[in-house]
Amino acid sequence: MLKIDGVTRRFGDVTALDEVSLEIGQGEFFALLGPSGCGKTTLLRIIAGFETPDAGTVTLDGEDLLAKPPNRRPISLMFQSYALFPHMTVAKNVAYGLERERLPRQEIKQRVGEVLETVGLSAHGDRKPHQLSGGQRQRVALARSIVKRPRLLLLDEPLSALDKKVRADMQLELKRLQNEVGITFVVVTHDQEEAMSLADRIAVFDSGSVRQVDEPIELYERPRSPFVADFVGANNIFRGTASGLDGLKSAEFGMLPGTPLEELEADAEALLAVRPEKVELVDESAARGFKGTVLDVSFYGGVSHISVEVEGRDRPVLAAVQGAGKMKQGAKVKVRWNAEDAVIMAAAGQ
């Protein structure tokens, strides 16, 4: 439904967006993921009409969006900082958009009531925003955005201001809501976990360009470039040269098991990425794997992160295990993983 085609936007000599093209389908929950300053907000602002691209087109169901002023676009934007009107009550905030459509009072009242019910804030309609907690504010912002029944809802870092616990609840809620109201969601975030847990598809951005568009699991397990591999979850990355089907030739560790994403020339420089949870730590005496020393065991509740110092590498290898790690600091171990759990890609991409 939303089609972004060759959109470019420059600020002075910064190119915030560089020929970005994307297609987002009806009813999709789509995430824009990328590091700070990569142009995510700029893209949202162009879609919402607060920024004009230097080149490119944006259409919604075939209709040119760029020709319309922001207040005429059937799009709602939920601001990162919520942008709730501080002088209006919750109910007034939510009713604001409907009042602009000059709907009858009765209908406004009813729809506001319904949406507040949906976000669980029926009891708080008379409060002012400053009387609410962060999570409640976020829900008001959401209610205000969806009450107009926009065709497209844009959310700019909707959860970044919340603390961990509230955030987890909110993520669930967002997903539930999207299911319920069936609106197309585009959410911007720099948190890879958030993107993965929320979205149907993710576009990974870097310096104004789209690097990969994929479903979360695909993206996580088969990153197509070192940038994506590194950005999407903490990967252990090894350098070496390609060597046929299932391995990377490494100067320090010999042959490391892994699966190439694409066909690589033999002896081309390549990288191998393996996720911490795929890394197995076994007894020193084991046959396969290379040697290391446990540097630190951090219990994160649920999982423990074990960092293993390995000769020939300046960064420790990270392994994640379920539950409290049974390893002790200083223990001698062997590190290994299966070929199908590691990806090998060309180094040139970086």
Binding site: P70, F79, S81, F85, G97, R100, K148
Partner: protein, 282 residues
């Protein structure tokens, strides 16, 4: 407030600090502000000496004189002139401040300094400039070849006050408008509001504190002014400031002058109270 029942070293240090920092300024304020104002207030119940000065005999006559239609009329005129000035300053100052706040950062400062700059030349010279422009043989008339009577009207006084105090309106307005989160305006547009509706429903209500401050900054000096009515009003209009000045400088009636000054302050205090009441309700 904290309960500081046990005088721990920390709290004793705090009290010493309070003394060291506060006492010089407070002493100054007490001696040169509170005592003089107290004195002034006490004069309101005494009598004018026959040849000036004060005779310390109790009287309420000053207050009964105050409600004389003549003086009430002068208060009314002053209120009207100050209010009209403030209103125009607001109508001119708001869009100006708003537009300055929208400028790119490096122009903002320049535009703001340019608003304040005339303020840095002498107040009296700026009033004088208007005499030069508007008087019978003045620049305007000689350029237009007319003989319009532009000076010595209430409108001229308003113009002079406006010219003198407009920057005091623009500055606080700018400060609040500048602080206003631009996303609120974007949110409003995003929800379908036109530019005008956004202004009426979001921008204006949220900048009300700046409006209040600006109005106060313009109203107070306009209300108590005596120089501008004298120079641009051809002495044909009397404001409270002129009355007070005359009581002190020509009638030598300090008690009544003090009473008028007290009335001036009282009017301002009432207005302030009304304002803060309105602000709390908003």
């Amino acid at each position: 407030m904290k309960s500081e029942a046990k005088a721990r070293p920390a709290s004793r240090g705090r009290r010493l600090g309070a003394f060291v920092f506060l006492s010089p300024g407070l002493t100054y304020l007490i001696v040169l502000l509170l005592v003089p104002l107290g004195l002034m207030v006490s004069y309101t119940v005494f009598q004018r000496g026959r040849f000036g000065g004060v005779v310390y005999e109790f009287t309420t006559e000053n207050f009964s004189r105050l409600v004389d239609p003549l003086y009430l009329g002068v208060l009314g005129t002053s209120l009207r002139i100050a209010a009209v000035t403030t209103l125009i300053a607001l109508l001119v100052g708001y869009p100006t401040a708003y537009l300055i706040a929208q400028l790119p950062n490096r122009w903002k400062t320049a535009a703001l300094v340019a608003i304040v700059l005339p303020f840095w030349t002498n107040f009296l010279i700026r009033v004088y400039a208007w005499i030069m422009l508007l008087s019978g043989p003045g620049v305007v008339n000689s350029l237009l070849g007319t003989k319009l009577e532009l000076l010595y009207k209430e409108g001229t006084i308003v113009a002079g006050l406006l010219y003198s105090y407009l920057p005091l309106m623009v500055l606080p307005l700018y400060a609040t408008i500048e602080k206003l989160d631009p996303q609120l305006r974007e949110a409003s547009a995003n929800l379908g509001a036109s530019a005008f509706t956004t202004f009426r429903k979001v921008t204006l209500p949220l900048t009300l504190p700046g409006v209040m401050t600006g109005c106060l900054f313009v109203f107070v000096p306009s209300f108590g002014n005596f120089v501008i009515p004298e120079m641009l009003g051809g002495n044909k209009t009397v404001m409270v400031g002129n009355l007070i000045r005359n009581q002190f400088l020509s009638a030598r009636d300090w008690p009544f002058g003090s009473t008028l000054a007290l009335a001036l302050v009282a009017v301002l205090v009432v207005l302030l109270l009304v304002q803060s009441w309105a602000a709390r309700r908003a």
